[in-house]
Each structure stands twice: as structure tokens, then as C-alpha cells.
């Protein structure tokens, strides 16, 4: 299986909102679409999924045009919602039926996902209630009310309006995954989630990756994207400004992030040594806190030279040379592009 996005462009009148986007997913994994607000990520996703007419370009899934007939697609839209007044179970069964999952199979999948996403209490409100003794009247005397003799009134099925935003988002993710899709498109999946639920969503994404699914993800949370994605495109003002394999991109930047930590007991003398050397060697210190330094070197050679000069003068605890993070690459690229503009 493979996904090929070829030369997608979109214009509204004279305004270009997506300019010749192309990429491929030859195998399972996560492809990230990154960009600032209004860069064209959601437009790209909508065009890939065939919701928006294309000015140019095509999208293929297994060499056939991508559509709901040729590919089982799961989609968590950026603008997401549920029917506010309909029962959640009815809605999920409906969404499942639209994807061809019906009857008992749909119910089994809903139960499984509900357990995984911890929303069973909303979908099965009466299941966790303690079983109450049934009332059997054996005499003509009126039934005694109170205590255990009163049967608890069954709770009505929950509707979307009764759920918090985070829980609604879980139901929406259930709807996206209910057909066990081959291609999963997640547009800002973590936005608005608390840390606990963010971790829950991450676990789900990990599971889908492990199952060999194709994921396209758009997010502003670089740490999340960096954790999952293998390839990416960064968009800015509708144009592709960086594209490729994440590791290759990072390698191309080289190991330039230096994390240095000197023994705090040796301060302030050790601190003065670090400051003097950075000035001499023209190495900018990005941040400093209680003997910990974040520095930007030009490469491994400069880092080695700094280390050799530091060792005789200051007790070093940590000397860690890293590639730039995705966040740094994104800020540098987008910032640079905006300056050019």
C-alpha cells in the first residue's frame, strides 16, 4: 500500500492557499504536516481527502484515486463536533454503519474503544451501577419505599451536550477509528486536551502505528509530532519550506546543540571559565541556570575544542552534543521564511 500526494495546489481567486504540495508515504508510519496558523495544513488535508476541489494535483492510494470507496479512512477533523442532542451510542452506530461496520461487530468495536479511551461510563451509564434487589410484592400491602427496596431509576443515555470538550474529543476519536481504518488523518488531535488525555491519545496513536497504519498528522505540538513522525512537510504561507525524513533533516543540521553542566560547587569560578571560553570561541550561550548551559556550536569540531579547553579548568558533569529539535528547526525555518518575506 502507498499514498502519493502529487502537486496539490489551491487558489481562492488570486490568493494561493496551497502551492504545489507533493509527498509520498511508501509504507506505514506517520507523516506530519506542520506550519503556522493559516499556513495551509487543513486545506491540504481537506484536499487530500477530496473535500475541496483541487486547482491542480492528484492523490492516489494504491495507485487509485483516494476516496471513501478506495480507502478506509479515519478522520479526526480540526473542526470537530457531534450531534448535540442525539444519544452517543446512536451516533457511533451511525458513523460505524456509514463505514460499513454494522450490527454486533459495531457494538463490539465501540465497547473496545470505549474501554481503551475510558468513556464507558458515558456510553453504558447503567452498567457500573450496583445491582439493586428487585421488588417482588407478595402481599396486598403497599410496597415499602426507602432503603434497598427502591430500585434505582435507569440513567438515560448520554448526549454530547452533557460531555466535557475532552470527552467529546474522545468520542470523536472513537468515531474516527471505529472502522479500523487503513489511513488515519488527525488534524490537531491533541488540541484542548489535558496532560492525562494527551497521554491517552498518544498511546492510541502508538497502537495504530504498531498495527501498521498510515497516519497523517497535523499539530502545533512539536514534541508529539517528533515522537511519532518519520517524514514531514513544513508549510508557511501556503508554500513548502522544508520537507523530508525527520532524521535526515536533523542530520543535515548537524549536532550543534550543546548541553553543558559544571559542578555547582565549583561556581562561580567554573562559570567564569565557561563564559570566557564562549566569548573567545564565539559560542553563543542560549541559556544558563545554576551551572547548566545551553550553547550553540558550529559542529563537533568546535565542541571538541571547547571540551579540551574546559576539562583542565572546570569540573564537568555533563557534556552532551545533540541535533536540533524539531521545534528549533520549525522556528528557524518559519522565522527565516517570514523574515525573507
Amino acid at each position: 500500500m502507498s499514498l502519493i500526494v502529487n502537486d496539490l495546489s489551491k487558489k481562492y481567486g488570486e490568493k494561493t492557499v496551497l502551492d504545489h504540495l507533493s509527498f509520498q508515504m511508501p509504507g506505514p508510519g506517520v507523516y506530519a504536516l506542520l506550519g503556522t496558523n493559516g499556513a495551509g495544513k487543513t486545506t491540504a488535508i481537506r484536499m487530500i481527502l477530496g473535500m475541496l476541489a483541487k486547482n491542480t494535483g492528484e492523490v492516489f492510494w494504491n495507485d487509485k484515486p483516494l476516496s471513501c470507496e478506495t480507502c478506509n479512512i479515519g478522520y479526526l477533523a480540526e473542526e470537530r463536533g457531534l450531534y448535540p442532542k442525539y444519544s452517543l451510542m446512536d451516533q457511533l452506530l451511525y458513523f460505524a454503519s456509514l463505514r460499513g461496520v454494522t450490527g454486533e461487530e459495531a457494538r463490539v468495536r465501540i465497547r473496545k474503544l470505549a474501554k481503551r479511551l475510558q468513556v464507558e461510563e458515558y456510553l453504558y451509564p447503567n452498567e457500573n451501577a450496583a445491582p439493586a434487589p428487585s421488588i417482588v410484592s407478595t402481599s396486598k400491602s403497599p410496597l415499602r419505599l426507602g432503603g434497598a427496596a427502591v430500585r434505582k431509576k435507569p440513567e438515560k443515555p448520554k448526549v454530547a451536550d452533557q460531555l466535557s470538550k475532552g470527552n467529546q474529543q474522545k468520542i470523536q476519536l472513537m468515531a474516527a477509528l471505529i472502522s479500523d481504518p487503513e489511513l488515519i488523518v488527525l488534524d490537531e488531535p491533541m488540541s484542548g486536551l489535558d496532560p492525562v488525555n494527551t497521554d491517552l491519545f498518544r498511546d492510541i496513536i502508538r497502537d495504530e502505528i504498531a498495527k501498521g497504519k498510515y497516519l497523517i498528522m497535523s499539530s502545533h505540538q512539536m514534541a508529539t509530532v517528533e515522537e511519532f513522525c518519520t517524514d514531514l512537510t513544513i508549510l508557511d504561507h501556503s508554500k513548502v519550506i522544508l520537507q523530508g525524513n525527520l532524521n535526515d533533516i536533523k542530520k543535515s543540521y548537524g549536532r550543534v546543540n550543546l548541553h553543558l553542566k559544571v559542578d555547582p560547587d565549583a561556581l562561580p569560578a567554573a562559570g567564569k571559565v565557561v563564559a570566557d571560553l564562549s566569548q573567545q570561541m564565539n559560542i553563543p550561550i542560549l541559556s544558563e541556570k545554576e551551572g547548566e548551559y545551553q550553547m550553540k556550536v558550529t559542529g563537533q569540531e568546535q565542541a571538541g575544542e571547547l571540551l579540551s579547553k574546559l576539562v583542565p579548568q572546570a569540573p564537568i558533569i555533563t557534556f552532551d552534543l545533540r541535533e536540533p529539535s524539531l521545534h528549533e528547526i520549525f522556528v528557524e525555518k518559519v522565522g527565516g521564511a517570514q523574515e525573507d518575506a
Binding site: 450531534y83 454503519s97 474516527a176
Partner: protein, 464 residues
């Protein structure tokens, strides 16, 4: 031109089933159906019981004493035969007296009225040469006679005097009719002469049919708009259209809304049926259901129908096809307008174009029907799309147009539907993911590539 493929309609049935199930589950809709049923069920008995009787029992007559103060032979048998002609009047309520002295004044507390049959001598002022007869009905204070019963009583007394006079001169009824027949001088054109007799009933038929079309269409478009805008405002559309094509999604919703309106209509019909049954059961009527119905005003419908040709299968087909074509037209328009909305607040403005056509068709069909007897005008109205929905079946029923013209009217209306379907197929996709202020129908047409293109409107339902 109309590029609708099979896969465009896949999933329509699932959308239909879900939507109609949710509509029928919604409390507000259940309450509406129950209220509609109750109102229609009670309409006939309540109206019969309460309306236009001034708080009196509708057919109550109490006790009536008829005093014959004339030379005519008004006998018990004659009175009985006349009263029997009025099934609603109770013969036992009438007593006959030959002079005012014979009136049972002791029973005045139960007496409702005294009818004095009198003979007037010719006078110079009246200008008449012979005697004249008077039936003076003297209703007593606090009588229980309703207005309706009073009118029947007047009519019965007139008949009583007539029959007594016929018997008095040994004339046959036929001979009397010939003698008493009046002479009128008419001054009108041949055309209006031919039309006048039927005009009022034809107008009534057109009005009743137009009201039904207007009601059903208005309900249908309001439900269609509500269900589509609800989905758009809940931001679900984007999720749904990866599973189903926009056309299938909207079509499922339109069909569900039409089914719900049909259900409402059936509930109303069922209610009216129960209403007539209930009216009979509570024994309001001694004169039979026909009079009850007449009292409730249903007679207008039946007389309008009776004025027309019998309901042949072809006539039924004419009405059914025309109504369906009209509903489809208004529904697609409503669907298009609703798809151009982003929030529930926009739904009122979305009704604009559909309501304009529905009300325009209604007004024009009524006014023209009342104002002209010209067949050419009726033919033109029957052919104009949208107006034909209102006028064509009625004109066909009344023989103003032939089946050929009716078919042409259907074809023209179908072409309008095809045009709207083309517009819909071009723009639904773009409209469904559109978010912004409500789009006018003109803007939607431009999006579809009709009318003058602007820089902002590109092929394929793009929206700036």
C-alpha cells in the same frame, strides 16, 4: 451536464434511516405529532359543539308551539311531513294550536318560541293584490334555540305554509312550482354566464389544494433546513464526508424530512378520521354525519370536490405527480440554501428563496383562479414551472387543460429540478465544508458556474 454517479448516492439509505429515527425519537417532534393528532381529532366535535351557537346546544329546539291563525288547513299530519324533511328537528318539540288561546301558557317556563302563522290582507302600501302569509316566530327570553336551529325553523315554517297553500288549492307541487317560479333578467356576456355557476366552487377547489401544497411544502423545507443546518453547525459534516458523498448525505436528509412531513400529514388525516368517528360516537348529531361535517365547514371541501369531475386514477395521478414535483423542487432549493449556512442563526434566511416561491405560487394561483375564466391564462399558468405545481392538476381536473398540456407542465418542472440537481451536484461539496456568512442563492448559482463569474468563484464550488 448532470454528472451524478452511483457512488454519489451510496449511504443515502443509512443517512435516511438515522435521520428519520432521530426525528421520530426527538421529544419535540413526538409532542408535535401528538398535539397535531389531538387537535385534528377534536376539531370537528369541538367546532360542532362550540362554534357559532352562542353557547347553546347546537341542535336544541326546546318546545315550539305553532299557532295557525290563517284560513289554511295546517294539520298535525302536514306538520309532521314537513318536520320529517328536516332530520335535525324533533317532531316532538312541536305542538299545534288553532288559535293563540290554545297556547299552553302553563308550560311557558319550558316553551322556547311561539310561531304565529298569519294571513295579511292586501294593503295599498304593499302593492300586492292578494293576501300574504306570515310566519312570525316569537322566541321567548332565555330560549335554548341556537342560531342554526332558528334558521332551520324558519325554513321549516316557510315549507309548512307552502305545503298548506298547495293543499288549499288542490294544486300539484309541480303546478305550483311553475306558477310561483320567478323571472329574472340577466345582463351578462355568454362567457361569464357559462362560468358564473361554477366559479365559486372552482375557486374553492384551487384554494384548498393550494393551501395543502403551501402547508406541506413549508413544513418540508423547514425540517430540511433544520436538519442540514444542525449538522453543519455541529461541525460534523467534515467528518461525515470522508464516509459518504455530500449528495448522498443531503439526499438522505431531504428524504427523511419529507417522510416526517408525510407522517405529519397522515397523522392529520388519521386525526380527522377519528374526529368524524368521535363526532358520531358522542351523539351530537341526530341528523347524521353529513350535517355534522357541513356544520364544521368541511362541506366547502366536499362541495369543491363535487363540483369537479369524479376522482379518476388519472386525476389522482395528476395531483400526486404535481405535488411530488413541487416538493422535490422546494426541497432541493431548501437543501442548497441550508448548505450555504454555517449556524442555526442563518437558518431563517435560508428559507427565503423557497418561501418566496411557495408563497408566490400560492398567491398567484389563488388570485388568477378568482380573477379570470380565460382558458388561455389557465394554460399558461399550468405551464410555468412552480406555478404549474399549484395550477396544473386543478386545471386538468376542471377540464381547462388536457393531459398533453399537463405532461408538458411536468416536463418543464422536471427540467427545473434537473437544473437544480446540476447546481446541487456542483456545489454541495464546497458548500458543506464552507464556513462563513450565509450565501445567497445568486452566489450559489455563480459558484455552480451559472451567471457571470467573478474572480472569487472558481469551478468546483470554491469559496473564498
Amino acid at each position: 451536464m448532470l454528472n451524478i454517479r452511483k457512488e454519489d448516492l451510496q449511504g443515502t439509505g443509512k443517512v435516511y434511516r438515522f435521520t428519520i429515527t432521530q426525528m421520530l425519537k426527538a421529544k419535540a417532534n413526538i409532542i408535535s405529532l401528538i398535539v397535531l393528532f389531538v387537535i385534528t381529532s377534536l376539531s370537528l366535535p369541538l367546532r360542532t359543539l362550540l362554534q357559532d351557537f352562542g353557547g347553546k346546544t347546537p341542535f336544541a329546539l326546546g318546545s315550539i308551539t305553532v299557532v295557525n291563525n290563517t284560513r289554511l288547513a295546517v294539520t298535525e299530519d302536514l306538520l309532521s311531513s314537513v318536520i320529517e324533511g328536516y332530520s335535525v328537528l324533533d317532531r316532538d318539540a312541536f305542538t299545534l294550536a288553532s288559535s293563540p288561546d290554545q297556547v299552553d301558557y302553563a308550560s311557558l317556563d319550558v316553551l322556547d318560541a311561539v310561531v304565529l302563522l298569519e294571513e295579511k290582507e292586501p294593503s295599498e302600501t304593499s302593492g300586492r293584490e292578494g293576501s300574504s302569509y306570515v310566519a312570525a316566530i316569537r322566541a321567548l327570553p332565555d330560549n335554548t334555540i341556537s342560531d342554526f336551529s332558528m334558521s332551520l325553523l324558519k325554513s321549516a315554517m316557510n315549507d309548512l305554509l307552502l305545503q298548506a297553500r298547495i293543499q288549499g288549492v288542490s294544486l300539484s307541487e309541480e303546478a305550483y312550482d311553475i306558477l310561483s317560479a320567478g323571472v329574472e333578467i340577466e345582463d351578462s356576456s355568454l362567457e361569464s354566464y357559462l362560468d358564473d355557476d361554477e366559479n365559486s366552487s372552482h375557486f374553492l377547489l384551487q384554494m384548498v389544494y393550494s393551501v395543502i401544497i403551501m402547508m406541506v411544502s413549508t413544513y418540508a423545507i423547514s425540517y430540511i433546513i433544520q436538519t442540514i443546518v444542525e449538522e453543519k453547525s455541529s461541525k460534523l459534516v467534515e467528518f461525515l464526508v470522508v464516509s459518504i458523498r455530500p449528495l448522498g448525505l443531503i439526499l438522505g436528509k431531504i428524504l427523511a424530512a419529507l417522510t416526517f412531513v408525510a407522517t405529519m400529514f397522515l397523522v392529520m388525516v388519521l386525526g380527522l378520521f377519528c374526529s368524524t368517528v368521535v363526532s358520531g360516537l358522542i351523539g351530537i348529531s341526530k341528523m347524521g354525519m353529513a350535517n355534522v361535517i357541513a356544520l364544521a365547514g368541511i362541506s366547502s371541501v366536499s362541495s369543491a370536490g363535487a363540483a369537479a369531475a369524479p376522482a379518476s386514477p388519472l386525476v389522482i395521478l395528476a395531483f400526486v405527480v404535481s405535488i411530488l414535483l413541487g416538493l422535490i423542487t422546494f426541497s432541493i432549493l431548501a437543501g442548497l440554501s441550508a448548505a450555504g449556512c454555517s449556524s442555526m442563526e442563518d437558518s431563517q434566511s435560508a428559507m427565503g428563496i423557497s418561501m418566496l416561491l411557495i408563497m408566490g405560487g400560492y398567491m398567484i394561483s389563488i388570485m388568477i383562479s378568482a380573477g379570470t375564466g380565460n382558458d388561455a391564462v389557465h394554460t399558461v399558468l399550468s405551464l410555468v414551472p412552480v406555478l404549474s405545481v399549484y395550477c396544473a392538476p386543478v386545471n386538468f381536473l376542471l377540464g381547462r387543460i388536457g393531459f398533453g398540456v399537463l405532461c408538458i407542465a411536468w416536463i418543464l418542472q422536471f427540467l427545473v429540478i434537473a437544473f437544480l440537481a446540476v447546481v446541487a451536484s456542483r456545489v454541495y461539496e464546497g458548500l458543506l465544508v464552507y464556513r462563513g456568512s450565509h450565501l445567497s442563492f445568486g452566489q450559489i448559482l455563480k459558484m455552480a458556474g451559472f451567471g457571470r463569474k467573478t474572480a472569487k468563484n472558481q469551478k468546483g464550488g470554491d469559496l473564498a
